[in-house]
């Protein structure tokens, strides 16, 4: 039942370079290439497509963060690494749902230890959720201003025009207020 991965699956080197360069094409090929592997694993171990999507995306995020942090050594095949990570994540989820985690049907021969990376990822995930919750509480228009400035890298001038502020100083003051509130929300939790 090993579905042949399509030939467009990028090589491990390509993936590492693609991640560092932020290549969208490599991401798409990577995503499509290994999804069936994880889907099969989840489907055969008490999960559905949505679970597979969540777990797989978390797995890819782990790979991205690892590559970006410069810690990714090609000591194992990327496929094996990704499989191991997704497997670990799914087993944790199963354990949280207090479903049985014994008798796991595996579809890859090699499973490597990834606990450290998973822990690191969980820490990051907590921060992500904190930020998400904080932004949610922040409300509009602050949320958009902050996102535009800090994430989408818009200039104060652009924001000023977008939100119809009379001058950039007003916009800056507004942004400052928003940021202070967001910080408060973020560090509170």
């Amino acid at each position: 039942m090993n579905n042949k991965l399509s030939s467009s699956v990028p090589t491990d080197r390509e993936v590492v370079l693609g991640i560092l360069n932020g290549s969208e094409e490599v991401l798409n090929r990577l995503y499509a290439g290994y999804f069936p592997m994880v889907l099969q694993f989840i489907l055969n171990n008490n999960g559905d497509d949505d679970d597979a999507k969540d777990v797989y995306q978390e797995g890819i995020i782990v790979v991205y963060n690892k590559v970006k942090s410069g810690n990714f050594e090609l000591s194992s095949k990327l496929k094996t690494y990704l499989y191991s990570v997704c497997r670990r994540i799914w087993l944790k989820k199963l354990a949280q749902q207090s479903k049985k985690t014994s008798n796991i049907a595996d579809f890859e021969d090699v499973v490597i230890a990834v606990d450290e990376d998973i822990e690191h990822h969980e820490e990051k995930d907590r921060q992500f959720e904190q930020m998400q919750a904080a932004l949610l509480h922040l409300g509009e228009p602050c949320k958009t201003i902050i996102q535009d400035f800090y994430i989408h890298n818009l200039s104060m001038q652009d924001i000023c025009e977008k939100f119809g502020y009379t001058n950039t100083d007003n916009a800056k003051t507004q942004k400052y207020k928003c940021l202070q509130r967001l910080k408060k929300l973020f560090f509170q939790t």
Partner: protein, 366 residues
């Protein structure tokens, strides 16, 4: 308020590395001087990094969602989902186990097959058995057969063309000898040679095709008679594992052979014979089989081809029976076996020393 905004902007610029070197120096001095500012810098750094990570993760998720949308998840899950059928699931999950089980089954089939082959070999032995039966029932034809192909060594026999040899042993001190019927059957002339090499003429007194036995009598004038027999005929059967030995003439000189009774029945369960594990060769036929105490327990008669250590010997009980069936009036003197056994307690060498005068080589001319 304005100062606060300015300070925040400076911190941000500082973290983003947008300050000029001079400003940078000044700000770092300020950081060291004022711990509260230092704290704000650190907090802002953590916050900005979190915000940046958040942004990146959101972007990545967005792109992955796009990639996900391009995959036909429905079809894939259909192909990869555990099959509703229990058997297919079993197969998928336990491929390795099933594979191992299958190879074991294959292996056992192979073994069964090879056992079958063995059974076929036993079948071959059966065939040989019938051939042996023929040997017993129609010795003359067999001799002719051996004649035509000297390589067939089923029967102990010398391979000199038209000149056969066997072994015989004395039944009485006055010259009665016992040998196998197949040794002397069809012979034109028979000569026996004693241990010292003296040949004597003999006459066939009695043949018993049922037990493949023949009784000869030395008729030669040179024959002066033997001293009393050292061995006696054992009347009851002996058990498996009993150590036995024989003396015979597979060559022109006597050859000693040692073995043990491996079965109480002979070829294919023939109850008139023992199966003995003992090395014998053509020419051993008719030789006495003795136990450790020097009792004659049988007569070496045949050897099974292709099977190691399967020699057959006619049980002594049937020797006695054959002797008894001889009508008294056909013999001048009753064939009587010695009742004493002089060999008991002697060492093997001593026993052989005594026996060898009573074992004869039989030469048959046709």
């Amino acid at each position: 308020m304005r100062n606060e905004i300015e300070l925040e902007a400076i911190i941000e610029d500082y973290l983003n590395g947008k300050l000029t070197p001079a400003e940078m120096q000044a700000f770092e001095a300020l950081r060291i001087k004022d711990p509260s500012i230092d704290h704000r810098v650190v907090a802002h750094k953590v916050f900005l990094e979190s915000l940046k990570d958040y942004g990146q993760t959101v972007a990545l998720k967005h792109r992955m969602d796009q990639a996900h949308a391009s995959i036909d998840v429905e079809a894939l899950s259909k192909a990869l989902r555990p099959h509703p059928s229990f058997i297919v699931n079993m197969w998928r999950k336990n491929k390795a186990t099933i594979g191992i089980a299958a190879s074991f089954i294959l292996l056992s089939f192979a073994m069964l097959y090879s056992i079958n082959q063995n059974t076929q070999q036993i079948g071959n032995v059966e065939l040989m058995r019938s051939e042996l039966g023929k040997i017993k029932n129609s010795q003359s034809s067999l001799i002719r057969k051996i004649n035509s192909s000297a390589a067939v060594a089923t029967e102990p026999r010398n391979e000199r063309p038209a000149n056969y040899g066997g072994t015989g042993f004395a039944l009485t001190s006055n010259g009665y000898l016992l040998t196998n019927l197949h040794v002397i059957e069809g012979a034109e002339s028979i000569t026996v040679v004693d241990n010292s090499g003296t040949p004597y003429k003999v006459r066939v007194i009695r043949t018993d095709s049922q037990y493949d036995l023949a009784i000869l009598k030395i008729t030669d004038d040179k024959f002066k008679g033997l001293s009393s027999l050292p061995y006696r005929l054992k009347s009851n059967t002996i058990g498996m594992g009993e150590e036995v030995y024989t003396l015979g003439f597979p060559k022109d000189d006597a050859v000693y052979g040692r073995g043990y009774v491996s079965s109480r029945t002979g070829y294919n369960g023939d109850t008139t014979q023992y199966q003995v594990s003992i090395p014998v060769n053509p020419g051993n036929s008719g030789g006495p089989l003795l136990d450790q105490r020097g009792n004659i327990i049988g007569v070496i008669s045949a050897k099974q081809n292709q099977v190691d250590g399967a020699t057959f010997a006619v049980k002594s009980k049937y020797i006695q029976e054959a002797l008894n069936s001889i009508p008294n009036d056909s013999l001048n003197t009753k064939v009587a076996f010695s009742k004493r056994n002089n060999l008991q307690g002697l060492s093997k060498t001593k026993q052989i020393e005594k026996i060898k005068d009573y074992v004869f080589m039989i030469k048959v001319y046709k």
